[in-house]
Symmetry: C2
Subunit: 324 residues, 2 copies
DNA sequence: AGAACTTACGATGTACGTAACGATT
DNA sequence: AATCGTTACGTACATCGTAAGTTCT
């Protein structure tokens, strides 16, 4: 019986990975742990099966997607997503309390906001292997979209990424930190209220653009027509504090990043009146099926986010979500 | 190299078909044109792969879905739906003007509402093979959900089926038909307005429950506390007219079903004031990808339903399951 | 010359159908 | 006894990797 070879998942994976790897089949083969001719074949087989060329070829090189390819790629991604969902659902029912949970977060979140949640989660779910990835908000979004992370946590960017569902976890403000004995510390001790104009007279040390509410900082200065000198920008609250201790400049960090005990060499000055409030958000990929313990983790991190709240957000309108 | 056999579509099809066929693997094998041991194996393989029993077994007989099975079946169906979508998209780009379009409609629609649309569509799209299926609204819904029909057209039921997207095509009312010379015809000719009470004095011939606005007819009589005798109920407007001609009773049919020329032996009496207006709807399966000519057909049938209108409806509120 | 994809080929193993078996009603 | 699902088995063919080939940079 001459059975026609049907569409299969390996073909779909090859197509998806080819797009992800920038149309380099050699890299695709590596990423999929297979041979390069194999990938070439998978793609051709799928194209044959569908009767359409998915990729633009210049000679034998792949350059991009054809219009049909562009139209069909989302379907391919949904297929692979659902396949992943099915596997996860299987794992969930097979053993609710064992598995892998990958959380991607910015440094600030990983270092200051997550530890207690991680500790509590580990106690409640000892069978779950927790992977904590660190990256920029953009990288976090990417990891979520590619299925390399289950949960993303960051203050910036995530809410604007189509394909992600985000929910607010907590709100926070910035705080200004200076070495003990710094002029600003004296002024504060003398009862003088800190202003943006005064702050702008010092070189500043704060987050890189795209991190931890940096936008709110820039916006605040811009609104008053100030252009402070940024002496140093870092992704990392600890790095910022270190350089502030060294006297490089005045630090502006997330308030969660200051601990009176541990950072005794630094003085924190209230800056709630200077910079807009930030909202840290948790994000998951839109059509991803989440393990039960993933909901539990989110709930542990942000008690307001019960499983029901998250599930409702997952099913809601694909467009922009309604506010905070 | 010992490759682990991955999940494949044949396994998924076996699972879906097993549910559809009422858990009889012999029938499943027949439906899938394969051997029964094959189906048995496919299911076991998938269960192994997922690590979960999907089916409840009494001895060696399958009785139903386990809770995990119930949870995972929708994912399986989405997978197969997307696979189908991918194939269709391929066919679409390979050749926009060739393919198959299956329209399921009630008799009344097929016989009276569709002919001009079908004629125009065939002229505009000669390469498309058109299949016209006939059935009750319930059967039409079933066919759509199982992917056996692309477009469904009926007045009843469709709008209430989760998993279907429906759009209004046109509105119509019932008309009363009697043989020429019938008492009601005389009264009408004499300028007397027809009432429900008068109508209820005759045996009636009309649609079966579940067809062509029968509900509106029952509701109208019920509202006035009348319980007319239904001499004959049929799915089919032509059957009704035939028996009215024979003098079995007074007919109540969809107004589209009366043609002054062809039905010269019958007299139609306006009944717009007696029965509520009906809306005939077109339905498609929620997450189905439609061929371009399917949109064209809908547009031909109901000019207000442009491709954009239909697409917007398809993307709207999921209703039941978490949409794709 | 080198990088990138395609073609060719051969071995491994996977998949499917037939047939025999076991259990259930 | 009949129906239904599972197990066993042999063959056919599908898949995949290696290696050679071709084209473009």
């Amino acid at each position: 019986m001459a059975e026609l070879p049907a569409m299969n998942f390996q073909q779909l994976r090859s197509v998806r990975e080819t797009v992800r790897q920038g149309y380099n089949l050699t890299q695709v083969a590596e990423a999929l742990h297979t041979s390069q001719p194999g990938v070439s074949r998978q793609i051709k087989e799928l194209e044959d099966e569908l009767g359409v060329e998915l990729f633009v070829r210049a000679g034998r090189r792949l350059l991009g997607l054809t219009p049909p390819g562009q139209a069909m790629l989302p379907i391919v991604e949904r297929l692979l997503q659902e396949a992943e969902n099915l596997k996860r659902a299987g794992a969930e029912f097979a053993d609710r309390e064992h598995g892998l949970l990958t959380v991607a977060a910015t440094h600030t979140q990983a270092r200051y906001a997550l530890p207690t949640a991680v500790r509590d989660f580990r106690l409640a779910h000892p069978g779950v292997t927790l992977h904590l990835q660190q990256g920029s908000p953009t990288q976090i979004a990417q990891q979520l979209l590619e299925g390399q992370a289950d949960i993303g946590i960051a203050t910036e960017t995530l809410a604007e990424v189509p394909g992600l569902v985000t929910l607010p976890c907590y709100r926070w403000t910035h705080v200004v930190v200076v070495p003990a004995g710094h002029a600003l510390a004296e002024e504060a001790a003398a009862g003088r209220t800190l202003t943006l104009a005064r702050l702008a007279q010092f070189p500043l040390v704060t987050y890189e653009p795209g991190y931890a509410g940096r936008r709110k900082i820039d916006a605040a200065f811009a609104r008053e027509g100030l252009a402070p000198e940024i002496a140093l920008a870092a992704m990392d609250t600890d790095v910022i504090k270190t350089y502030v201790e060294l006297g490089i400049g005045v630090g502006i960090i997330a308030s969660v990043g200051y601990d009176e005990q541990r950072d005794s060499s630094l003085v924190a000055l209230d800056a709630r009146h200077l910079f807009a409030v930030n909202t840290t958000r948790v994000a998951v990929k839109r059509n991803a099926w989440l393990r039960g313990y993933a909901y539990a983790f989110i709930h542990t991190f942000a008690p307001s986010l019960t499983r029901e709240v998250v599930e409702r957000a997952l099913c809601a309108e694909p467009g922009q979500d309604g506010g905070l």
